[in-house]
């Protein structure tokens, strides 16, 4: 009797195991399915709208007709500005964290600042940028205000990724440099940074992806002007803001889908490059570390 009871328990737990593994697998399939549906739907609706004229012409009647050229310019300029400001600061922070100080109060403070900043919602960045850059520093709705706000938003991503990339460089590399008489700065610039470069670029690409897709932080700092800008103090409208306004105010669903397709394709491409760089980089370093 006892033997059959035990067999029942075993059979039951085996069956439960199969069910749970099925449920877990199903969840992963569901998550990937959602991604496929989102990207698939946007491209299915948006790709037919994409023509050279759509990309290269100015919008007419607030976006009801015409193309999206000025918003592409706006996106590129704002993103480039954000990266130009955030990348040096982020990489410098990462160098300090990875190569100079590993613990202590200074490091704890810097980490607290970085982690907290990473959690600040984009609308708070938008409000801050509006209060500080647009009003207090009197830059107005401009490329400058928008780019500086975005720079603050992507800074934590760049710091984190760059630090990880530098820590992944094997210690032996540094030891060889020191044993040849290299100073710390020489070691960093000639040994650590070149080897960590793909990882650092990953962080920058992730920052580019976030900048391109951002709306809340941009709409209150860079404005929503549909003109092609001529100086850093001109307002611009990015693709995300344009898409948001088209969709929310129901101006033109057709052009909204077209803009969404360009947006999704560019963000996916940027993130794909980021992911690819990181993995090739880690695989190479892991191979070298052995």
């Amino acid at each position: 009797m006892k033997g059959t009871w035990r067999r029942d328990v075993i059979l039951l737990s085996r069956r439960r195991d199969r069910i749970m593994v099925g449920v877990l697998t199903g969840s992963a399939v569901l998550a990937v399915g959602v991604l496929v549906i989102i990207v698939g739907y946007v491209l299915w609706q948006g790709l037919p709208v994409l023509t050279p004229t759509f990309l290269l012409e100015a919008p007419e009647k607030m976006g009801r007709a015409g193309g999206i050229f000025p918003t592409i310019v706006g996106t590129v300029v704002l993103t480039a500005g954000a990266v130009l400001v955030a990348a040096p600061l982020g990489v410098a922070t990462a160098i300090y964290l990875a190569e100079y100080a590993h613990q202590g109060r200074t490091v704890a403070l810097i980490r607290f600042g970085t982690e907290s900043l990473a959690g600040i919602p984009s609308i708070i960045f938008g409000v801050f940028g509006f209060l500080f850059f647009v009003i207090y520093l009197d830059m107005g709705w401009s490329i400058l205000s928008g780019a500086l706000t975005l720079a603050g938003m992507i800074l934590p991503t760049i710091i984190r990724t760059a630090e990880e990339a530098m820590l992944a460089v094997p210690r032996e590399y540094r030891e060889v440099s020191y044993s040849l008489g290299g100073s710390r700065w020489q070691t960093i610039t000639r040994v650590v940074l070149p080897n960590a470069l793909p990882g650092i670029l990953t962080g920058i690409m992730l920052g580019v992806g976030r900048s391109v897709g951002e709306t809340a932080a941009v709409i209150f700092t860079a404005g929503a002007s549909l003109r092609v800008p001529h100086s850093l103090f001109d307002p611009v409208r990015t693709m995300s803001v344009h898409f948001y306004l088209l969709a929310r105010e129901g101006i033109s669903m057709r052009n909204a889908y077209g803009t969404a397709a360009v947006l999704v394709l560019s963000v996916l491409a940027v993130n794909f490059v980021a992911y690819y760089l990181m993995h090739r980089h880690l695989a190479r370093l892991r191979g070298a570390g052995r």
């Binding site: 195991d17 739907y41 409000v127 500080f132």
Partner: protein, 283 residues
């Protein structure tokens, strides 16, 4: 050479403090913008007032606080089980090539702009809810569903890292005692990864509370305290984004004060997440 190295180190320290300085600057300006109206209306009136009619002198944000809580709670209920299941699947069950396919897919999911999520919620989810469940469609439920998808990558990837950090010996010991895979996951892997998973859930919560554009597009934005998941709702973030464009004077200050409340909630969550993750590391 020595002086040069010293100088570089100083410069790096100064640059490394940029994120902390920026955080302080954000806090300073948001508080400076919002505190005057808080002092005038009274913190209690502001937080617990149920009427938001800023042009007529009513500055109560309780409906928006309730809205943020509803929407975030809904997102966690819908999103966390799936995210956890994904993390467990990737860490414990998936074979190497399958994992190498799914992980990047989830990371791409994290990169899709929030306006796109909101837009798809608007054109797919809102009509679906309106037809199947009634009501206006613009609802707590629609916002929760959209947010659930948006927090999925965050919760999954932090939980995945926590599960991967559990030593293989835990699994081997359990399997050697005759436990099935699920028993091993439930009784030895999950408890060991608990604090990391909790930190991931808190991070997801922060993202859900802070999300703006996606929520605006599907939530309906009525300034009433919702009583059912099918009611329209306005969150703290939407309140700011919807009105900042045209608000002036005290109305505008009240929006900054909404920002103060949001900032404090997020910083609180950050600290909790940090404490939870820290406790996990020290164990």
């Amino acid at each position: 050479m020595k002086g040069w190295e010293w100088l570089i180190r100083r410069v790096l320290v100064v640059m490394a403090f940029s994120s902390l300085s920026l955080l302080a600057l954000i806090a300073l300006f948001i508080f400076a913008g919002g505190v005057p109206i808080l002092a005038e209306v009274g913190v209690e009136q502001f937080l617990l007032g149920t009427r938001w009619a800023p042009t007529r002198g009513h500055y109560g944000i309780l409906p928006m606080i309730a809205g943020s809580l509803w929407v975030t709670g809904g997102a966690l209920v819908l999103g966390v089980p799936i995210a956890l299941a994904c993390a467990i699947y990737l860490s414990e069950i998936a074979s190497e090539p399958v994992g190498r396919l799914i992980k990047p897919a989830l990371e791409l999911l994290a990169g899709i702009p929030s306006v796109v999520y909101g837009f798809l919620g608007l054109v797919i989810l809102v009509p679906l809810i309106r037809v199947l469940l009634g009501g206006p469609g613009f609802s707590v439920l629609a916002a929760s569903c959209v947010l659930a998808v948006m927090i999925l990558p965050t919760v999954t990837s932090v939980s995945y890292d926590a599960l991967r950090a559990v030593p293989a010996t835990y699994r081997e010991g359990s399997l050697a005692l005759g436990a099935t895979r699920w028993q091993t996951i439930r009784m030895s892997v999950l408890p060991a990864a608990r604090s990391g998973i909790l930190a991931g859930i808190i991070l997801g919560m922060g993202r859900a509370i802070g999300e703006t554009m996606a929520v605006i597009m599907v939530a309906g934005n009525a300034t009433l305290i919702p009583v059912s998941p099918l009611d329209p709702v306005r969150t703290l973030t939407s309140n700011i984004a919807l009105e900042l464009g045209y608000a002036a004077g005290k109305h505008r200050e009240a929006l900054f004060a909404t920002g103060v409340v949001l900032f404090l909630i997020i910083m609180g969550l950050n600290l909790v997440a940090e404490a939870v993750a820290g406790r996990g590391r020290s164990r």
